[in-house]
Amino acid sequence: MAEIIKGNHAIAEAAIRSGCRFFSGYPITPQSEILEYMSWRLNEVGGTFVQTESELAGISMLYGAASCGFRTMISSSGPGFSLLQEGISYLAAAEIPSVVVDLMRFGSGLGDISPAQGDYLQVAKNGGHGDYRCIAYAPASIQDVVDYMNKAFSIAEKYRNPVLMACDGTIGQMVESVVFPEMYQHDPDQFDWSIKDQRETVHKQVTSKMYYDYIDEDYCAHFREKYDAMESEAEWESFYAEDAELILVSYGTMSRICRDAVLLARKDGLKLGMIRPITLWPFPKQAFKAVTPKAFLTVEMSVIPQMAEDVSLAARGIAPNYSYTTGMHYPDEVRIIEEVKLVLDNKKEEV
């Protein structure tokens, strides 16, 4: 049955329905309602909620609980998401699954609490140190987050790696109609790698795989193989892309406006299409191989072109790519079509 719910509450409920029983985090707008919801809801389902002294401590606590095989989630935004990076790199190194939600806001430094898509580079290129990768889902609606949450946990467990849920801050703040799945029962004792109630025959060392499990070249080979395999998880949506003269590339909530722009333009005979990456990493390069437009236009809610760099790489040899960054505001369909016309009239510079 569908219900009307605020995005941040839905993100928390979706995690609970996916079997998440541990949450440790720190308040920051626009995601604090996730903590608030978790503080009573986890109590109701027999889980644990801890408001920690910082995001550093929050992700560390999660690391402890996740090392025991439990499904764990943490969420943050902007400066708080930066502080999670230390832990994300450690989780990836020790191959501990978990889900990390970023409600993206605007600008650098303290930036602004207003929702935006300012963290693309941090999400898709790794905000933390070293050689690792995280699959990053970019939902476009509250229902998307709900539908992808259980999958995010399963994929995290499949690859033994943290998975990012990169939501525009808007998703946390808006209210939509959503259908939730049934409660998933997670068994924390199903994994051979986790810390159990009793020590097993060999004592476990949850730490960077570099130290014990793989030496030198084996370590490189293991992780190369794993991250190569993760590339197969790329997901995207193509909308009127096959015959399009120009293809908009956008993700998250911005893709919903681009979709309307495509429909509006087609009414006037302008053949627009759209490619919407659902995973920001792996970037869905395959989607670009199947199309033959005159140009791509990347539309994103940031100050400088961020995803546009990946689009240019994927579009190499196919068509030039242009960028339209909308700052902290959503454009309407008409404004996007104006930008398309600038591209078609050769009035914009390629990325």
């Binding site: 801890v50 401590a57 606590m61 810390i195």
Partner: protein, 246 residues
């Protein structure tokens, strides 16, 4: 005496700490107490970095390696989801009192039912003997070549005293400077473990320990330095949670 000569079964590998290092001795003490209490299978330790973290190779409990300073938070996460385990952190002074001071204090603030063994050797051992938050005034280290100066570094942190301001289960400071101190420290370790097992909340044992390599002293002189300087400044004993009639 004999019990100190026998190597506990929980010591699964010969350690590679420098000759005269306190870590090997403290490891053995903790292993002995865990074995006496039959906790080998329930215990899980959290280390971070520093020479302290080498212990995971030598001591046969389960281990998790945290980010530098974050072990108490990781430990709390483990304890919340597996409350039946004995969860402890093993940390140096750079780890618990510098970068991880916040995580250390908050574990006590929340009275998390975990146990921290805090090895105070007055230097950052692993990285080559730099000044630690516990370096004594006048102490020469690789980053305080003219001696630790109050006007620049302030005074050494008395972590046990700081933590004792919270209403927690057990706090003590011991040393391994001589046999009698060693035996007292063993008792503190034992009481800290009991505190967690008996659900009396957070417990913490600070242990004054030598780093002969970075102190540039012989192992014997290092122990003497603990007796004459470190114990004088820090003071040893129980600060909180003394159980009556023991």
């Amino acid at each position: 005496m004999q019990e100190n000569i026998l190597t506990p079964k929980l010591v699964v590998k010969e350690n590679k700490f420098c000759p005269g290092c306190g870590h090997g001795v403290i490891e053995k003490l903790i292993c002995q107490v865990l074995e006496e209490k039959g906790l080998e299978n329930e215990a899980v330790g959290i280390v971070a970095v520093g020479c302290a973290c080498l212990i995971t190779d030598y001591m046969g409990t389960d281990w998790i390696q945290a980010q530098h300073g974050r072990a108490p938070a990781v430990a709390a996460g483990v304890k919340h989801v597996r409350p039946g385990k004995f969860v402890f952190t093993y940390q140096g002074d750079g780890d618990a009192a510098a970068i991880g001071l916040s995580e250390t204090m908050y574990a006590a603030k929340r009275n998390e039912p975990i146990t921290t063994f805090f090895v105070n050797n007055g230097v950052f051992g692993m990285t080559g003997g730099q000044m630690a938050p516990t370096s004594l005034l006048g102490q020469k280290t690789t980053t305080s070549p003219f001696g630790c100066d109050y006007s620049k570094a302030g005074e050494p942190i008395k972590l046990a005293e700081l933590l004792a301001t919270f209403n927690v289960g057990y706090i003590a400071r011991g040393s391994i400077a001589n046999y009698s101190e060693l035996m007292k420290t063993k008792k503190y370790i034992s009481k800290a473990i009991d505190c967690q097992i008996q659900n009396r909340g957070y417990s913490f044992v600070e242990i004054l320990s030598p780093c002969p390599t970075n102190w540039k002293m012989s192992p014997v002189d290092s122990l003497k330095r603990i007796e004459t300087e470190a114990m004088t400044y820090f003071g040893c004993g129980e600060l909180k949670g003394q159980v009556q009639n023991d």
